[in-house]
Amino acid sequence: MSSKLSNAQIAWRAAQDIEDGAYVNLGIGFPEMIAKFQPAGRHITYHTENGVLGFGKAPPQGEEDWDLINAGKKAITLKPGASFFHHADSFAMVRGGHLDLAVLGAYQVAQNGDLANWRVGSKGVPAVGGAMDLVHGAKRVAVITDHTTKDGKPKLVERCTFPLTGVGCITRVYTSLAVVDIEDGRFVLREKLAGLSMDELQSLTGAPLHTQGQVADLIVPEIEQ
């Protein structure tokens, strides 16, 4: 494998698909980075599980109000038109299909849309947060992830071996090498890095990659880390 996208570049690519006017929940950690790359001219409203809609960037250091945080417990600011609500109303938005998009991280995504992203085994303290809710209800549920684990194992798999977060819930995966849709229980390759052959990509993927018509080049800008 000659090269792969940085996390920032994966986040940039995912950001391009978020339509103007969308209501979006970005999972804690890596998915939060997507907000940085929101294309100019689009108005996107971000939801966070702990009861805020319409939040903006972190405040300057030292100006945090710790009653104004997101689900990752990071300090946030508000944009005009923001609102507060309690946790049951917040998850009504999630479960009730009112979000246009939720983006999560993943340990594994299976070709049937199953997601495993909350624990890798039975050791340690398990923690689930809102992930199992977020995979249900949003009109589109996407994953951003490295294409493989650190030791080179596929994260796109035939069947998840880690404990599941949700069943048949993921419809698109943005990886460090490709953009892959999940349709009818199959991975359908939409974009891949130009320098990467189909065979190379398939060898790094744990289930068959199908194509429907053209596979576009996955083109992203250089982004300074």
């Binding site: 103007d20 409203t45 038109g81 507060f84 609500f85 998850f91 938005m93 009730g96 009112h98």
Partner: protein
Amino acid sequence: MDKTIATLAEAVADIEDNAVLMIGGFGGSGAPIELIHALIDRFKATGSPGNLTVVNNNAGNGQIGIAAMIDAGMVRKMVCSFPRSSDPRAFTEKYLAGEIELDLVPQGTLAERIRAAGAGIPAFFTPTSYGTELAEGKQIQEFDGRPYVLERWLKADFAIVKGELGDTHGNLTYRLAGRNFNPLMCMAAAKVVAQVSTLTEPGGIDPEQVITPGLFVDGVIEVPNPQQEEALIRAGEVYA
């Protein structure tokens, strides 16, 4: 992201024949009377939308609002808890003639079914109506030794509601007891249009005071000094 709608006609233009239509308000309190009348105007001009299923606590009173919709012949079915408030002539006539259907739902169950639809809860158990004819045919299950009735969510294709203050992102507040079913219906309908007495820019409502967050609302139209349905009924108004 500006959800402002310019005219009442546009606001109700997307309601289709055979739609399930939720209409906010309890009696005349919080009833979006201008939106209702715009819908009647459209029906009279075009014959559409007809065959509607209307969800509201009541079934119309006097000769305006939902009663005028029924008189106009737009309504196939009412889903409500109390179709018998003061002067329910329009509904009563058609019901006794077999020309309109009634789905009678206890008021708290109606509210909870609408909220459930908005919250992605397909069904829930309630003690309400257990052992009565309104529970006939429904699944019963015991919890902690007490029997409960399974009720399903109630979704709509469209909702028209009445807010007090709104912003162009669709955030809403309500006036006094005019809140009632309005915030719930905003959650439960595929498309929601709100009339508000005052429309402001985003930021014009304190985020802590928003009752309906804008993500539940698709369109908002300013109707300054809106009519109050109960006051119209008491004045003997007729919309025909």
